[in-house]
C-alpha cells in the first residue's frame, strides 16, 4: 500500500515580483479552467496541487507576528517526498522555474539543476500539523485504474440482459469472467490493501480521554471563566462581507464537481489557547490516522484531503481542503456533522464566534460562523486535481468493487456488490 503525504512549501516572494507571480499563476489557472492544461499530469504522484499567494491582505485579522508576501505550494502525493520532489522539478520544470523565479533565493537561470531546485523546495518545506486522507493507500494510478475497471463493468452490465432469473451470484461470476478475459485488467486480480480502523489505538485513545475527563472539565471551566466569557460576540454575517473578496473566491468555484478551500486564521495569543489548539491537533492526528480511514472526516463524507498547518512560529494556522460539492454544502456539512470538532479547533483563533465550554456557540452559531469562514478564506491561485469527475465516495466504492470482484460472494453479498454500480 502506497501512503499519501502532504507537502507544503512556503517561500518568500521577491518584493517587486508579487504582481508578476500573480500574473503567471493566472495563466496556469485559466488553462486549467479551460481544460487545456497538460503539465500537471506529468507528475504521476500528484493528487492535488495548489499555489496560493499569502500576503498581509490574506489575513482578515491582525497577524500576531509580522508577515511578508509568501508563496504556498501544496500537494498531496504518493510515496516518499524525495521521489515526489524529483518528479516535480524534472517533469514540470517550466512551471517551477517560472513560478520560483519570483521567489527569494531561487537559483539563477544559468545555474539550475535538478538538485538545487529540489533543495530549494526542500529548504522551504514545512510540516503539517494534521492531515486527513479520504481514501488512504489509493495512489493516483490506482484511482484511475479502479475507475476504468468500474466503467468497464458498468458498460458490461448495461449491455447484458440476464433476465429476471439470473442470480446475483451468477452475474458476479460472469463479470469476473469478463474481467479475467481482459488483459487490461490483469492488475485487478490482486486485491487492494485497505487500511482498517486501528481499534487498539482508538480504544487506547478513548481510555486516555476518559482518564483525562477531570482535566478536560477543569480546562473547560478555566477556559470559560478566563477566556470565553471575555471573548467578543461576533456580529459579522455573510451579507456584510466585502463583495470584491467574495467575488474573487466565487470566480474560481464550482467549475468542477469538486472544489478547494484555503484558509488562514490567527491563533489567540495566550499560551493556554495555543496549547489547546495543539491538543486539538493531536486529537485530529490520532483520529485521522486511526479512525477516519473510510472516507469520512468527522462524519463528513465529501472530503478527499484536508490538512492544518501551523506557520509563523505557530502563531497562524492554515487550513486546506479538497472536497466534493460546493462551499455552501461543505460548510453546512461541517456545522451539521461536526460543529463540535470545528469549534474545538478554531475557537482558539481570534474573532471566531463566541463559544461556551467549547461546546455550544462557535460553529453552531450558523450565520456568524459562515461569515467567519468565508472572511478568513484565501483565494487559491492555482488548483489542480487529476480526477475531478470522481467523488470521494466513488473512489472508495471503486476499491470495494475491485476487491469484492475477487471474493466468492453469497447471494446477499453479490446483491450488495451489484448495487455499487
Amino acid at each position: 500500500m502506497i501512503k499519501q503525504h502532504p507537502l507544503i512549501v512556503l517561500s518568500p516572494v521577491k518584493k517587486d515580483k508579487a504582481e508578476e507571480l500573480d500574473k503567471r499563476l493566472r495563466v496556469i489557472r485559466e488553462s486549467l479552467q479551460q481544460g487545456t492544461e497538460t503539465e500537471f499530469k506529468k507528475v504521476p504522484t500528484l493528487h492535488y496541487g495548489r499555489f496560493v499567494i499569502l500576503d498581509r491582505e490574506s489575513f482578515r485579522d491582525e497577524p500576531t507576528v509580522p508577515v511578508s508576501t509568501r508563496l504556498i505550494f501544496s500537494t498531496n502525493h504518493d510515496g516518499d517526498k524525495d521521489n515526489h520532489l524529483t518528479e516535480v522539478v524534472t517533469n514540470i520544470t517550466n512551471y517551477i522555474d517560472d513560478i520560483y523565479e519570483c521567489c527569494e533565493g531561487y537559483p539563477g537561470p544559468g545555474s539550475r539543476t535538478t538538485e538545487n531546485r529540489k533543495s530549494y523546495l526542500e529548504k522551504y518545506s514545512i510540516k503539517s500539523s494534521a492531515f486527513y486522507n479520504g481514501a488512504p493507500g489509493r495512489s493516483v494510478q490506482q484511482i484511475h485504474q479502479e475507475a476504468a475497471l468500474r466503467d468497464h463493468i458498468w458498460n458490461y452490465i448495461k449491455d447484458n440482459k440476464w433476465g429476471e432469473k439470473a442470480s446475483a451470484v451468477d452475474i458476479h461470476r460472469n463479470i469476473r469472467k469478463e474481467i479475467d478475459s481482459n488483459p487490461e485488467f490483469e492488475w485487478s486480480k490482486q486485491m487492494a490493501e485497505v487500511q482498517g480502523i486501528k481499534w487498539f489505538n482508538f480504544i487506547a485513545y478513548g481510555l486516555l480521554l476518559i482518564a483525562a475527563i477531570p482535566l478536560i472539565i477543569a480546562g473547560a471551566i478555566y477556559l470559560f471563566l478566563f477566556h470565553e466569557i471575555w471573548n467578543k460576540k461576533q456580529t459579522l454575517t455573510l451579507s456584510q462581507l466585502d463583495d470584491k473578496k467574495v467575488n474573487k473566491l466565487k470566480e474560481v468555484e464550482d467549475l468542477f464537481p469538486q472544489n478547494q478551500f484555503t484558509q488562514v486564521a490567527v491563533l489567540k495569543p495566550t499560551f493556554i489557547r495555543r496549547l489547546n489548539f495543539q491538543i486539538w491537533m493531536m486529537r485530529t492526528r490520532v483520529l485521522a490516522n486511526n479512525v477516519f480511514v473510510h472516507g469520512k472526516l468527522l462524519n463528513i463524507p465529501t472530503i478527499h484531503f484536508a490538512r492544518w498547518v501551523l506557520i509563523d512560529k505557530n502563531r497562524h494556522v492554515l487550513f486546506f481542503s479538497n472536497f466534493d460539492g460546493n462551499w455552501q454544502q461543505y460548510l453546512g456539512d461541517f456545522i451539521d456533522q461536526s460543529g463540535w470538532g470545528l469549534t474545538g479547533i478554531f475557537s482558539n483563533t481570534v474573532n471566531f464566534p463566541k463559544t461556551r465550554f467549547m461546546i455550544t456557540g462557535g460553529a453552531y452559531d450558523e450565520e456568524h460562523f459562515l461569515a467567519w469562514s468565508r472572511s478568513t478564506q484565501v483565494p487559491t491561485q492555482v488548483w489542480y486535481c487529476p480526477y475531478p469527475q470522481l467523488s470521494i465516495k466513488n473512489i472508495n466504492n471503486n476499491t470495494k468493487i475491485r476487491n469484492e470482484l475477487r471474493k466468492d460472494l453469497n447471494e446477499e453479498q453479490a446483491k450488495i456488490f451489484l448495487k455499487r454500480f
Partner: protein, 477 residues
C-alpha cells in the same frame, strides 16, 4: 415557538391561492420613484396579508434589488445588508454554474429577467377567480401605478389542472408547514421553524437568519421595529431597524416543459423488437424518475403499480421502507428534493434534522394549455410549462443548495453520473461526462443512459417580499 405576525406577512407565503383560477404576474419597472412610492402607499393596505379573509382577488408584491434601489432605498450600506444572492440577482456567471442555466436555458435567451431583457424592479402578483376578474383588478391598479411604474412583461398562470403538472404527475404534495403559522401541523418532519421561511424568526439552527437592517437612517424609521437579533449601532448604542422582519425571499423561474420530448424519450426506452413502445412500462419508468406515480402515490408504498385516483400520501420514509432504493431510486426527483430520513448515511434522526434545513415552500402555477401528459397523450398545443416559485429565508442554503447539490450534482449520494432526471439534466453535457438514471433492481441495476433535458428556463429573478409595514416604509425612503 413564536407565533407569526400574520397580518404583517404577505399571504402568498402561507396560502397557495389554489382556489384562484387565474393569476397574472406583472413585471414592472420604476419610471418615476416618487410616483411609484405613492402607489405603494396607496396599495399597502390592500396587499393580501396572511390574516385577511380570502375574497375574489388577492394581491402580493415583491421587489428585486434593482427595484429597491430604483425606489430610492439606495444607500449602499443598507442595500449591502440584504443577502448576497438577492443583491446579485439570479444572473451572474457563478450562479449560472450553480443553477445549471446553460445552452437553451442560458439567461441570454430568457424572455424576462435576463441580460438581454428590460430590467425588472417590481413584481405585482394578481390572483382572481377568473381571468376577467384579474384583468379588471389589474386595470384599476394600473391607473394607480402609472406613471410611476411601467410594464415590462406579463406572466400568465393558473393552478395546476387537477394539481398535476404537465408531464402528468400530481404535484405539491409534500409542503412544509411553518411553525407558529396557525396551520395544523403536517407531521412527518414537515413542520419547520419559521426562520427558514420568514425573516426575523429563529431558524432550524436556532439562530436568526441573516436579515436586511437599516444601517444608515433613511425614510420613516418610526414605523419599523428593532431587529430581534440584537444587532446594534455601536456608536449610539441603539439597535438597528429591521426591514426584513416578517418579510422573505421569493424565487421565480419560468420553466418550459417539453412534454412531447419527455414522453417520447421514455417510450423509446421500452420499444420491443418491432419498434413498438410499451406505455405501461413507460409510465413505470417515468414514475421511477419522479418517485411518485401520476396519481401522486409514492413508489415507496406502491412500488409496482399506480393505485390511481388522487393520492396525497406523504407519510413514508426511505431508510425504513426502501433502504436500497429498489422501490424508489436514489436518483429520483422526489428522493433528491426531500431525502427525509436518508440524508447521506447519517442516522435517521440526524437526516431528518438536516433535511429540515434545506426546505422550500413551493408556490407553483402552470401556464399554457390545461394539459396533463401521459404515455398515451403527450402533444399539447403550444408552449406549456411551470411557473416555479418558492419562498425561503436563505436563498443560498435553500433554493440554490437544492438546485445545485441535490438536483444538478450527478454525485448525489453514492451516484456517479446521475443528475436529477427531471430538473438537473444538462442539454449539452460537459465533455467526457455521462448523464444517466440508475434504477436499482434486485440484482443488476437498470440504467437509462444519455438522459435529455426536457425543461428549459425561460426567465427568472429573486425577489424580496416585504411585510405590509415595510411596504409602507419603502414609500417613505
Amino acid at each position: 415557538m413564536t407565533p407569526l405576525e400574520l397580518s404583517e406577512i404577505q399571504a402568498y407565503l402561507l396560502n397557495d391561492y389554489k382556489e384562484m383560477g387565474s393569476s397574472k404576474y406583472y413585471l414592472l419597472q420604476v419610471r418615476d420613484a416618487t410616483a411609484a412610492k405613492k402607489f405603494l402607499t396607496n396599495i399597502a393596505d390592500t396587499i393580501t396579508h396572511a390574516n385577511a379573509t380570502t375574497g375574489e382577488t388577492a394581491l402580493n408584491l415583491g421587489l428585486t434589488s434593482n427595484g429597491l434601489t430604483a425606489l430610492g432605498y439606495s444607500n449602499e450600506e443598507n442595500m449591502h445588508s440584504f443577502s448576497r444572492e438577492f443583491r446579485e440577482g439570479m444572473v451572474t456567471p457563478h450562479r449560472q454554474r450553480l443553477l445549471g442555466d446553460f445552452d437553451s436555458s442560458d439567461p441570454s435567451n430568457w424572455q424576462w429577467g435576463g441580460p438581454n431583457n428590460e430590467q425588472v424592479d417590481v413584481i405585482l402578483m394578481v390572483f382572481g377567480k377568473n381571468e376577467s376578474i384579474v384583468e379588471n383588478y389589474f386595470e384599476s391598479l394600473k391607473q394607480k401605478f402609472e406613471p410611476g411604474l411601467s410594464m415590462v412583461h406579463i406572466i400568465d398562470g393558473k393552478p395546476l389542472p387537477n394539481e398535476r403538472e404537465h408531464f402528468g404527475f400530481r404535484d405539491g404534495i409534500s409542503q412544509p408547514v411553518i411553525k407558529g403559522s396557525n396551520v395544523s401541523p403536517a407531521g412527518n418532519n414537515n413542520d419547520i421553524d419559521a426562520g427558514e421561511f420568514v425573516l426575523g424568526y429563529k431558524n432550524e439552527y436556532g439562530v436568526y437568519p441573516d436579515a436586511p437592517l437599516v444601517k444608515v437612517a433613511q425614510g420613516n424609521l418610526e414605523i419599523l421595529s428593532d431587529n430581534p437579533g440584537g444587532y446594534k449601532n455601536e456608536l449610539v448604542d441603539k439597535p438597528f431597524k429591521d426591514i426584513g422582519l416578517n418579510g422573505t425571499y421569493f424565487v421565480l423561474r419560468q420553466l418550459e416543459q417539453n412534454v412531447n420530448g419527455y414522453w417520447s424519450f421514455i417510450k423509446k426506452q421500452t420499444v420491443d423488437e418491432n419498434g413498438k413502445p410499451n406505455n405501461e412500462e413507460a409510465t413505470k419508468i417515468a414514475a421511477k424518475m419522479m418517485g411518485r406515480w401520476p396519481s401522486g402515490a409514492p413508489l415507496v408504498t406502491h412500488p409496482d403499480r399506480d393505485p390511481g385516483g388522487d393520492n396525497d400520501d406523504n407519510s413514508f420514509s426511505y431508510k425504513k421502507q426502501d433502504k436500497g432504493g429498489e422501490k424508489c431510486p436514489f436518483g429520483s426527483h422526489i428522493r433528491r428534493m426531500n431525502p427525509r430520513d436518508q440524508f447521506e448515511e447519517s442516522p435517521a434522526w440526524v437526516s431528518l434534522k438536516l433535511t429540515r434545513r434545506h426546505r422550500i415552500i413551493r408556490r407553483v402555477r402552470s401556464y399554457g394549455e390545461d394539459f396533463i401528459g401521459s404515455a398515451e397523450n403527450h402533444a399539447p398545443n403550444g408552449e406549456v410549462g411551470l411557473l416555479f416559485g418558492c419562498f425561503n429565508a436563505n436563498i443560498s442554503k435553500q433554493f440554490e443548495f437544492i438546485q445545485y447539490t441535490w438536483a444538478n450534482s450527478p454525485k448525489f449520494k453514492r451516484l456517479y453520473d446521475d443528475p436529477d432526471p427531471i430538473i438537473g439534466v444538462r442539454e449539452c453535457p460537459v465533455t467526457g461526462t455521462k448523464q444517466n438514471f440508475t434504477i436499482p433492481q434486485k440484482t443488476a441495476n437498470r440504467v437509462i443512459p444519455n438522459l435529455q433535458s426536457f425543461v428549459t428556463v425561460k426567465g427568472g429573478a429573486y425577489f424580496f417580499f416585504p411585510s405590509v409595514t415595510v411596504i409602507k416604509f419603502l414609500a417613505t425612503v
